[in-house]
Symmetry: C2
Subunit: 392 residues, 2 copies
């Protein structure tokens, strides 16, 4: 059902963007499949496969014979052609018939989710299209793929809500599990076990989902949980998400482990925590359709620096979807590695994380990651925002 | 440990092939990561990452700051450089220092496992290298990546043996589970449950691992198990594999469900089964270093046709490794979709499947898939070959 709905959305996007033909070209999708495929197919394909969508609503698939039936089952394609020996002939026949002015294909310098075509497959396509004088018609499908991923349908948002709720439940269970002496690895394993019991897949690779950091001088975000034990006076932070119905959550929470006899955290820990909470909400309030990602990032970044902390060495927030890092538009600074992503305007239907972080010297890292949905007038939390430091 | 061993193997391959520098360039590896990465890294990377190996043994990684520690932990790189804003400067500095005559990068028209560089990343690299006058030095790393995947080390072969044994155990359990009235889907679910209980991942996507086909006129290989029930007089065939220690097995087995009161299968079923068994062993006997894939394929293909059956619409066999379909060299016919794969010579250390199939009209599909290891003098079975039709 989702495939059919997204292919129909693609037809509308082509009309809106004035592109007459979009071609997704892939092979052995379990090996280097285009990240666009889950919107166009259920499951994997083995041999060279072409999925064609035109602005006039002509939808066609050309695939190896054994992959045909599963593609037909999606109900998204008017025509599914199978072959045994090679895709060249049926693909060129289809393109001759369609005779598109432009052929949008999935490559992008700026965005990995829009960059599913490998260079080898690009060369194959170039050689084939050259035979019918069409090679020069290839253009980047970046805007089509970006919009398809970013403009979430109601069903997609519902799936994300489910993934957020499921991860929040596990964070709550983890809060009761954290105590002095428990190692980062034990806490991570506990959370993974809870996910498994609930029948949930993790939102990213197992070694760092969750990542757990306790105390000062840890390796920094993305590193795997270690044998380091939680101790009194530590800030503990965790980054975790699950997949539900094919869609991800991605959240971070911060805890503080009380010193013997203390009833609250020291001031500097509260200052760090509050700076993060306030940075998130300030960013959320300016996160509206038409805003540019780097503007939103700057609001949170500035607040953290004004509170006396070092600025965070990463973007404020990314989109979430089928991947924990998804979409094109990014709430990030104008740094080389982010390319044009921070310059893409925010649109309704986008789901973003907001995740500033500050280092509290001698204590650890205070960081929170919330998820928000952009609507016509502004953004609302999809997660239940962490407003209070959890004291342990 | 494996990463260090494979990176050392890569240095030797560069020397052997007379290539002075190999560059793997990737980003967001959970989204469209290069299939070469598991040989070069443990786990995923987020930002633009360059992994450089030279013929002189200079190994360097350049990665986003949060990915540095995990790369250092592999022990495979002499130098790991982290960055915050962008990879351009540290990457160009490294290449200026190395000043390679050729820079082999991971693209290939013929082989998906050698084709991990996306077209967008190729363009990024081209633009950066052009700044230092090196863009034209880029060549395909196809031969390096192919050899690295194909020439299995002792540890890799041991992992594959483990995956084969584990799958065979589950096939045996399935044989006891198949009976008239059970549906394809029930049998598939049973096998997946057995895998889960044994703590094993499936070798390919869940919907078709296993695939199960009972009786005549099924959808054909690669289609998912259906509600069709096993009945007396059916041939049942299954395609299944698991992953153990990061490596796959990929096997097929054939069963026959006895008619009421019968004690054996009809002659035409035996003829089909025997044609498959004999085709496999004939192919195995000619599968030696130096043989060409299409020659080996032809031996099995010819035998099946000589036995009066239609030729199978796919290659006789593919390599197996980290993926169920792996490596470059293929035991396949000279068809367009296989490109140059069937022309690559067989080498010691390759692990192949042998999987002919025949249709027995009115009964179903007889097919067996064995796995073999190529040694200096010839090939031996890694699987316990199915010599007898399993009667149910």
């Amino acid at each position: 059902m989702l495939v059919k709905e997204k292919v129909e959305q693609a037809v509308a996007l082509l009309q809106e963007q004035g592109v007459d033909c979009w071609l997704t070209f892939t092979r052995e999708s379990q090996i280097n499949g285009d990240p666009t495929l889950p919107f166009l197919l259920d499951g994997d394909v083995t041999w060279h496969t072409a999925l064609i969508v035109t602005a006039s609503g002509d939808t066609r698939a050309i695939a190896g014979r054994y992959d045909v039936k599963a593609i037909e089952d999606t109900g998204a394609y008017r025509q599914v052609v199978g072959y045994v020996q090679g895709i060249r002939e049926p693909l060129l026949a289809a393109l001759r018939e369609i005779d598109p002015k432009t052929i949008a294909v999935n490559f992008s310098q700026d965005s990995e989710v829009c960059d599913g075509l490998t260079h080898g497959m690009y060369l194959i396509l170039w050689d084939m299209l050259a035979e019918i004088g069409c090679a020069e018609r290839m253009v980047s499908a970046e805007r089509i793929v970006a919009a398809l991923r970013q403009r979430k349908t109601a069903a997609e948002i519902e799936a994300i809500r489910g993934a957020v709720r499921a991860a929040e439940t596990i964070f709550d269970e983890a809060a009761a599990f954290i105590q002095p002496g428990r190692t980062e690895r034990e806490i991570a394993r506990f959370m993974q076990d809870q996910a498994r019991k609930a029948g949930l897949a993790l939102a990213w690779e197992e070694r760092t989902c969750p990542s757990v950091f306790t105390g000062p001088d840890t390796a920094g975000a993305h590193y795997l949980p270690t044998e380091r034990a939680v101790a009194r006076g530590h800030i503990v932070n965790m980054d975790f998400g699950v997949k539900a119905g094919g869609y991800c959550s991605d959240l971070q929470r911060t805890y503080y482990v009380l010193e013997e006899g203390a009833s609250s955290a020291p001031d500097e820990v509260w200052r760090g925590f509050d700076a993060v909470v306030e940075a998130i909400d300030r960013a959320r309030r300016v996160l509206k359709p038409g805003a540019l990602g780097h503007e939103v990032d700057a609001v949170a970044r500035r607040h953290v620096v004004e509170c006396g902390f070092e600025e965070f060495p990463h973007a404020l927030g990314h989109q979430v979807g089928r991947f924990s890092h998804d979409g094109f538009a990014l709430l990030g600074p104008q740094w080389e590695k982010y390319g044009r992503k921070p310059f893409a305007p925010v649109e309704p239907g986008m789901v973003f994380t907001l995740e500033p972080r500050v280092t509290v010297p001698g204590r650890g890292i205070a960081t929170i990651e919330e998820m928000v949905l952009v609507g016509q007038g502004g953004s609302q939390y999809l997660s239940t925002p962490q407003m209070e430091l959890v004291l342990i």
